[in-house]
Symmetry: C2
Subunit: 150 residues, 2 copies
DNA sequence: CTTTGTGCAAACGATTTGCAGGATG
DNA sequence: CATCCTGCAAATCGTTTGCACAAAG
């Protein structure tokens, strides 16, 4: 606990960011979860017990964290920006039915040969996005869920 | 010309969509270009010479086309929804510097083995997104562009 | 003490919606 | 002629911004 907190503080400092309670909370929250939350989810989670941060501050914290490379934005569904503190290269799985998102380890798939691109294009990085059904939805793929029945 | 127009009309009808000038124009425009335009780009292009459609109608046309599977939405940059009438499976290349987007043929890369996913996940489709430098930006990757110097 | 971050509220831009009139099949 | 589409404007939603005050180094 205390160790992790110190590690987070050191990470923030090493990137030249001031350590504020809000920034710490946002980054710690992102590190503690793997579901790639939206801004609203982060805000709700942080202020669950008592007010920690405002919405505008979450945005500004995320921007600061993104600028120093500690956090990345994930675009998988329309109109939804999600955030991810896992900055290792990795792929994404997105459940077509419930929208759940999960990381896929980089070495799950064969390497992709970027040299296969047509001449003129210089490939630098890539990412695979897999669409499918998650554990829950795969079991009974045709049963309606709370989401699918508004 | 006339043939293509008829083909488009038949396609729309076969999907149960009413053929209106606006809907026709939106779909024809999308089919004629490969740059995955935004709503604003479509609107500007259509109304270049004389008014053809309103913004709200473009949105509704795109939604109708998307619902019947003739058009797909492409999410590659934050805050920008682009549209694509190429419904064949394919990958995308996105220029890191100028934001240009280009299709990559499906068979450019090795197939990805979706069975490699962890047990519980059912992979159905996937797509590879490559980030890199396009023709223009690859030649002189460090020269500033109009975009990078506001 | 200087610089940077926070919170609030207003501003903003892309997308959606309600509704009356018009076109389609 | 019943149904669906269009266009306009207002409403909505996520995100950004301006500014006064507070906190960090």
């Amino acid at each position: 606990m205390q160790e992790q907190a110190n590690a987070i503080i050191q990470t923030l400092k090493s990137k030249g960011l001031r350590v504020t309670p809000q920034r710490f909370a946002v980054y710690a929250n992102l590190l503690s979860r793997t579901d790639h939350p939206t801004v609203e989810q982060i805000l709700t989670d942080l202020n669950k017990d008592f007010p920690v941060s405002s919405q505008a501050t979450i945005y500004s914290s995320l921007q600061a964290l993104r600028e120093v490379g500690l956090v990345r934005e994930v675009l998988l569904q329309e109109g939804v920006s999600r955030y991810d503190a896992n900055i290792q290269p990795h792929h994404h799985f997105c459940c077509h039915q419930c929208g759940a998102i999960e990381d896929i380890a980089w070495n799950t798939f064969e390497f992709i040969e970027l040299k296969s691109l047509r001449p003129g294009l210089v490939g630098q990085t890539y990412e695979v996005t897999v669409q499918g059904l998650c554990d829950a939805c795969g079991v009974s793929p045709h049963l309606p869920t709370a989401e699918s029945v508004p």
